[in-house]
Amino acid sequence: MTVVDSSPSTGPAAIDAVPLRHPWRWTAAVVIVVLAALFIYGAATNPAYRWSVYAEYLFNDRIMLGVWNTLQLTVYSMVIAIVLGVLLAVMRLSPNPVFRSVSWVYLWIFRGTPIYVQLAFWGLIPTIYANIQLGVPFGPSFFHLNLQALSIPFILAMLGLALNEAAYMAEIIRAGISSVPEGQTEASTALGMSWGMTMRRTVLPQAMRVIIPPTGNEVISMLKTTSLVTAVPYAFDLYSIATREIAARTFEPVPLALVAATWYLIVTSILMVGQFYLERYYSRGASRKLTTKQLEALAKAQMIGEPHP
């Protein structure tokens, strides 16, 4: 017969085992640290890097303007791309064949041609369509706009980036929506929700978990794609200012490329932090693992339940 010992104070001692050793991890780490130190030493002592020039231009006013313009281009075009991408994704999944075809053709064109060509094309819009008139076709005109008189390379660059990105965002969002099980839509419908509310309150919040990681990718990629707006031509983004404006004048391409790289890296790091928090927010309920708060509450309940000797 087995006797079950139920006294709480005489439980088995906690395990205190010798941890598994990992000698090869240490070896590999040492090798990597030595190689990195060699590279840093080489870079620091190599005069070709021109570190004095790098330091001089790192916080240069023109560079800071470039950073600001690049950030603006990234944020504006991403916002437009996400909104348009949601619209295109929903159209693509809609039962309406007109919406489906429009969305398909849009994706076909904007994913099928290089972004550089598209940006160059947007730059040529004022040449192709010199005047915009709004009115009755073949009749009187109410509104007239001369595109060539306006100086709008920033807007054209932003639109060019946004319309291209929207095609990619549409596919990411469509994948996210498709990843939500059908039962979720059914349960919402059975509760009397409309299709739009079901999308907004049930499907999209769950799709976000799938949508955010690739979208973070796209934002970071967009940050760097802005360096192509020189095709419009727009000349005041970070890369254009660092290379075409300053380096071309001072003949110092290496330190200025490093300045640009440094700022791209800093902005990317900030974006990654934002992505981490967004991902954590939208993963609510995705795992059975309890949150810290829930664990504390349970531990407290257990403490109260246990008899104290």
Binding site: Q184, E186, A187, T189, A190, G192, Q206, A286
Partner: protein, 254 residues
């Protein structure tokens, strides 16, 4: 005379060339419990889904509380109902699914208050009070803040029942509510359903739980191949089945 809660007249449903329902005629009185049994693919679930218009009926008529489901009757012709009006009809019909279908990104309480607040426009404080009350009724008061993934199947299904009840439905549909549960969790869900029946809720239940049918149902319907083979008081159908098909089925499940 008040109309029955559910009235089906020759209801037919086909998916393409496949006829799933071949003329179902039945009635469920107010406050009554109808249990539907039958082999897989016999059309029980499809019929249930027709009642709240998750599936569109191809022929025949389906009424809930005297109201035609899914169409507007204009005397000589039927007009397809707009999604808006169909959604309005569904508000009064609660549904519980085999796989619970709780919203995984919302806590138990948030699952329950979601539709009352956003569909019916109930004030949040009222919805929360009612939500806690319902959680208490299904024995889940302590789990209000838990996410569905942290609950057992039986607990999830009880929350799902509370979610459906939060809309104050006049009719509850149960689509194999215990089929995805461990045997020891089945009892807790059936207990909640039994209590609900005793309180006078009209229910249509698709299930394989013959014990529940015998104890709670007012009427038992045996379906096979898209038709009602046999129906009547559960004790009679279960102990003295008239048709060979019913006998064969019951001999396997009892």
């Amino acid at each position: 005379m008040t109309p029955p809660m559910v009235k089906a007249e020759q209801v037919c449903k086909s998916f393409g060339a496949l006829n799933v329902l071949k003329g179902i005629t039945l009635e469920v009185g107010k406050g009554q419990v109808l249990v539907m049994v039958g082999p897989s693919g016999s059309g029980k679930s499809t019929f249930l889904r027709c009642i709240n218009h998750l599936e569109q009926v191809n022929a025949g008529r389906l009424y809930v509380d005297g109201e035609l489901i899914g169409y507007r009757d204009r005397g000589t012709k039927l007009l397809e109902m707009s999604p808006r009006d169909a959604a309005k009809q569904r508000r009064d019909i609660g549904m519980v699914f085999q796989h619970f279908n709780l919203f995984p990104h919302r806590t138990a309480l948030d699952n329950i208050i979601e539709a009352p607040i956003h569909v019916k426009g109930v004030k949040k404080s009222e919805a929360v009070a009612r939500g806690r009350d319902l959680l208490d009724q299904v024995g889940m008061a302590e789990k209000a803040g838990a996410y569905p993934a942290q609950l057992s199947g039986g607990q999830q299904q009880r929350v799902a029942i509370a979610r459906a009840l939060a809309m104050n439905p006049k009719l509850m549909l149960f689509d194999e509510p215990t089929s995805a549960l461990d045997p020891e969790l089945v009892g807790e869900v059936l207990g909640v359903m039994k209590k609900l029946a005793q309180e006078g809720m009209t229910m249509v239940v698709v299930t394989h739980e013959m014990g529940f049918a015998r104890e709670v149902a007012d009427q038992l319907v045996f379906m096979d191949g898209g038709v009602v083979v046999e129906s009547g008081p559960p004790r009679e159908v279960l102990s003295k089945p008239q048709h060979e098909r019913t006998k064969a089925f019951l001999s396997k499940v009892l």
